[in-house]
Subunit: 399 residues, 2 copies
């Protein structure tokens, strides 16, 4: 996670088992009902991996669904074991008692997206014929991810979400929830996201995919029974992505032109600059936990994303939404920019929807949503608190 | 070249043989004197490919050296043959009669950089043992490129440059000329460039190199006698680079979310979006004319570049320069930003050097320096004209 030294020590403080939500368990929901996809494809059966935090209240009114980004999974917070070396979930600072998503009050659910590789059905899963899908897996979209989550909520007998939210691709899912199921969503948290992938967004993703295609171990996606995986291509794809998550400022302050384990230039092709070593590490670490085909499918879902898809305009797409919206963008985020956030805020305002837009001055680029814990706790936690209190006083006038 | 429709038609108008400098010939200067490199390495002998345009005047006072960028070569303008399908040199709009670099007045020289693959000695050249250098080629720096050019000018018996200039990596060479040979440079044209590669600059280059290393056909640089070249890796590297040359605006206006040869989403991994097709084409076209090892060596030279290298501060590096500087940056250039241009302008000003800084409002990102022909002609051509007239009236007071 890219962050300055000061921030790092803060995060370390937060990352203690004492303040954590504790031990959690990954659960699996299996569905024998078909999942019909936007592409026209169908998954005859599928599994969704998910985790829950906190306690569902009696009237089931305290549910928050957190949607993860490209490389995330259902393990948003807490620990699986007592192993003191175990790292907590990917947004542990945000989910737990008295945190941004306060598990003393809310019942938090997070599931791995359909197409993923962290427990939910994806291209690495076994198809009905007993072999991994590979490229036989159908193309999925953000709307399909939402549909899979909707099946999960039905299974859990949860009719309505107090809030659905997430950063980056998570924000897209949250928005799509409000569009697809207006009566089931009270609040949308749309953070460091975009209602429509830009040309540059598509371009970066396509280059990442090209890096995977170019790896001879990719074998057109049919590599699961081979000893060599397309790790080199996937690592390059991850490095490309990683650069877009960091601001110029993050890179300059964290690495500058510092050399790695040397005091002067070596003039070789070995890793010389600290930033090279960092990117290489990011790539290597990523291939240990991620499937190259899932990377292809999920980046395609990102590229396809345009909330107005299937409607004639974005206004038509948003018109029937019934949620309140909190939109947060970060000034140094050049992946999903302020401008892209406003592509959602402006039509929502013109449609007289209830939308609060916060542009946060932050230095750490796209990753700010994970790094700026204090600001986010104030903004998102504060917003949820206000909305919660508002709905708990139904006799008072809203607004 | 990334540019809007309107600009394209303009360029087409400019690209006629009538306004061109005409037929030019690539020449080669062979040197049996050793080229001693910053890295400590030595090239016992080397060749520099170069071209000239216009006529050298009697007192040799009208010489302009143009330095090319990462993927350029000595063929800056004109045509090699009468073939009507032949494309002109890479900056044909800029070099010719009555153009930015007016060949009616100036004698223009452009040479391929040492380490390149377009006629000058580089990793694809034969080493003294008769086999291609490959990775045995020594690491080169921007300063070494300048030193090779200095050998060429000595061979051509040209003591002094009226101007040395270029965009991007060409600007680095121009700046380094003024630092290494203060008495031989009258004017520096530093365009869309930086006195120091940033962390992000290094990061993008490193990912490009990783894409090449990851290609099994790269064979640690020893691929010249093999049927398969590391084309796939080089193409990915080029695509990564290409994105950094274009602004978000360029991409949005040129491609948006337009589909390639389709009217609706196909939901496949085939090329669907126009921007994907464009990048793929850029990659494929590039591998036809460029050597993967040269790409590695030249990007390393870019990453090493810091004009203060070998000095304690940038002030010390610039103190003994004797040239006038024109610094041009483009508002939408996110590869070499305004901020980076000012990293040169500010110390030059504090050192009371003669520097003119032009920040151009331009939409086309880094490539603006090639695309914004009219603005550039006015700025750069106008600057040269003023400097030329100033030096032709030695009795008048300067300034």
């Amino acid at each position: 996670m890219p962050n300055g030294k000061q921030k790092q020590s803060k995060l370390t403080l937060v990352h203690t088992r004492e303040t954590s939500v504790g031990i959690v368990e990954r659960q699996f929901a299996h569905f024998d009902t078909p999942l019909r996809l936007r592409s026209g494809g169908v998954l005859e059966n599928f599994t969704i991996a998910y985790e829950t935090y906190g306690t569902l209240n009696a009237d089931k009114s305290n549910v928050i669904l957190i949607c993860h980004a490209l490389s995330g999974d259902s393990h948003v917070a807490g620990y699986y074991t007592d192993d003191p070396d175990e790292a907590p979930g990917w947004w542990d600072e945000a989910v737990g008692p008295n945190k941004m998503f306060d598990t003393n009050r809310y019942y938090v659910i997070c599931s791995n997206v359909i197409g993923g590789c962290r427990g939910s059905t994806g291209p690495s899963s076994l198809a009905p014929d007993g072999k991994p899908y590979g490229l036989r897996f159908p193309i999925i979209t953000i709307s399909d991810m939402v549909e899979a989550q909707r099946h999960l909520l039905d299974r859990l007998d949860i009719p309505k979400l107090f809030a659905v939210g997430g950063g980056s691709m998570g924000g897209m899912q949250a928005l799509q929830w409000a569009v697809n199921y207006p009566e089931r969503v009270e609040n949308v948290l749309f953070i460091a996201s975009t209602p429509r992938s830009s040309t540059q967004n598509i371009a970066f993703n396509e280059i990442g995919r090209r890096a995977i295609y170019a790896d001879p171990n990719w074998q057109r996606g049919d590599y699961y029974d081979r000893p060599e995986k397309p790790d080199a291509g996937l690592a390059v794809a991850r490095m490309i992505g990683h650069i877009t998550y960091m601001s110029e400022y993050s890179l300059e302050t964290k690495f500058g032109r510092n050399l790695q384990n040397r005091s002067q230039l070596a003039y070789t092709f070995d890793t010389e600059f600290a930033v090279e070593s960092y990117l290489q590490y990011q790539g290597e670490k990523f291939v240990e936990r991620f499937d190259a085909n899932s990377y292809l499918y999920i980046t395609k879902a990102l590229d396809y994303y345009d909330v107005s898809e299937g409607y004639s305009t974005i206004y038509d797409a948003l018109r029937k939404t019934n949620a309140n919206f909190l939109v947060v963008s970060f000034s140094s985020d050049w992946l999903y920019t302020d401008k892209q956030a406003r592509e959602l805020v402006d039509p929502l305002r013109r449609l007289k929807k209830n939308v609060e837009y916060q542009r946060v001055k932050a230095s750490f680029g796209h990753d700010s949503f994970l790094v700026e814990v204090e600001t986010m706790t104030e903004l998102v936690g504060g917003y949820l608190d206000r909305m919660w209190k508002k709905k708990s006083r139904p006799n008072k006038k809203n607004g």
